[in-house]
Subunit: 199 residues, 2 copies
DNA sequence: TGTCAACTTTACACAGTGTCAAGCAAAGGA
DNA sequence: TCCTTTGCTTGACACTGTGTAAAGTTGACA
């Protein structure tokens, strides 16, 4: 044990996750998390100095449990560029609903908390690398649309696949998850892949 | 005069706008707005019962000064569907930077304040109607891609043109406003317009 | 038996929103 | 001229949520 009780720390992270998961939008307070974890509010501060750092830890915990990086990396196995693009969209797009609660809390914190903003931007960079890899695969086989440089194409794909867009389509527009994935695949292909290599 | 001093009310709205405009991200407090308007914090509450209602009024004031609805309506003058789509993207896309400060404050409020959420969603519905009109124009001349129903196409266009996407591309990806507009036009065409009628 | 770590309880400082009440100054009747 | 109303000021305070501080409890382990 490096320090503290490892069990309590995990209880906290799980509690935070659970609350963020279904308490959508409503602010999850430190006291709520403590109650959920079955400990005192102050014990929380023994493990995490601030709310922001606790959320960062929660995000890491989630990534760890859910294995995002592995899932994103798996999309690299596809042979053709388009297949790879599809695999990446599927991997990330299906991951979003699993982290949505935590993601939303992070996005809300971005304006007020420097550390949280940094942590979130770091996680989003991982997604960006996935976008860049998919675009590079297209480029390599000449399938990338001549309208976009690889950087521009990555920017577009990254923006397209943002949590905000997922939220809008699923919540505001009432799309199903399946439809979201399929439309994203189609859209990405239309925008990024050159006319000759659409399929 | 219905009540209160109309001059002070406008001073407040202008002050709020100015602060939201360049105080990006940093939270603009009621006391900050009062100071900027040259009145006491309490006088603010004589005009607006809550921060949320003040922001709603600020948004309305902005729309009034900037004439969004007129600008969006102007895009309906275009003859062909694609031209209309372009005109709409240009009108709305160039409006975003002018309201970005206020928009951001609203988006931040969405989770905590019901009234603010409603007001913002109402404003976004206006944009949505513009999207629907542009899509309908495409559909009418058979230029709408067979991949999408009018509703789906509107959803996609609406999502594409969200403030969040503008923010990501301009701030995180470093795009120029001109580039944003041009790429959005191209993207919308690629995604929404059928193969035969791309230009 | 003593000590240490993890946790509890209680209390408080601080920021920001929103409320309340008393006072003040100018405009405009009667 | 006095009186009332309107729009504002000043100052105090309640409430919520975060984060700090300190003293007390409990159980493990040596």
């Amino acid at each position: 044990m490096s320090s503290k009780n490892i069990g309590t720390r995990e209880k906290i992270l799980k509690a935070a996750w659970e609350l963020l998961e279904d308490n959508r939008a409503k602010s999850v307070r430190m006291s709520d998390i403590a109650k959920q974890a079955g400990i005192s509010r102050q014990a929380l501060y023994l493990h995490f100095p601030t709310r922001a750092e606790m959320l960062v830890a929660t995000a890491r915990y989630l990534d760890d449990v859910k294995k995002v990086d592995e899932r994103l990396a798996a999309s690299r196995a596809a042979t053709t560029g388009v297949e790879r693009l599809n695999a990446f969209i599927e991997a990330w797009g299906n991951y979003i609903p699993e982290i949505y609660g935590v993601a939303k809390a992070f996005i809300a914190l971005q304006d007020t908390d420097e550390a949280a903003a940094l942590a979130w931007s770091d996680r989003m960079q991982a997604v960006r690398h996935g976008c860049e890899a998919a675009v590079a695969a297209l480029k390599k086989e000449g399938a990338l649309s001549p309208d976009h440089s690889p950087k521009a194409a990555s920017d577009i794909l990254w923006t397209l696949l943002s949590v905000g867009n997922w939220e809008k389509l699923r919540n505001d527009c009432g799309w199903s998850q399946k439809r979201y994935i399929e439309t994203m695949k189609l859209t990405a292909r239309r925008v990024l892949v050159g006319e000759g290599a659409q399929r």
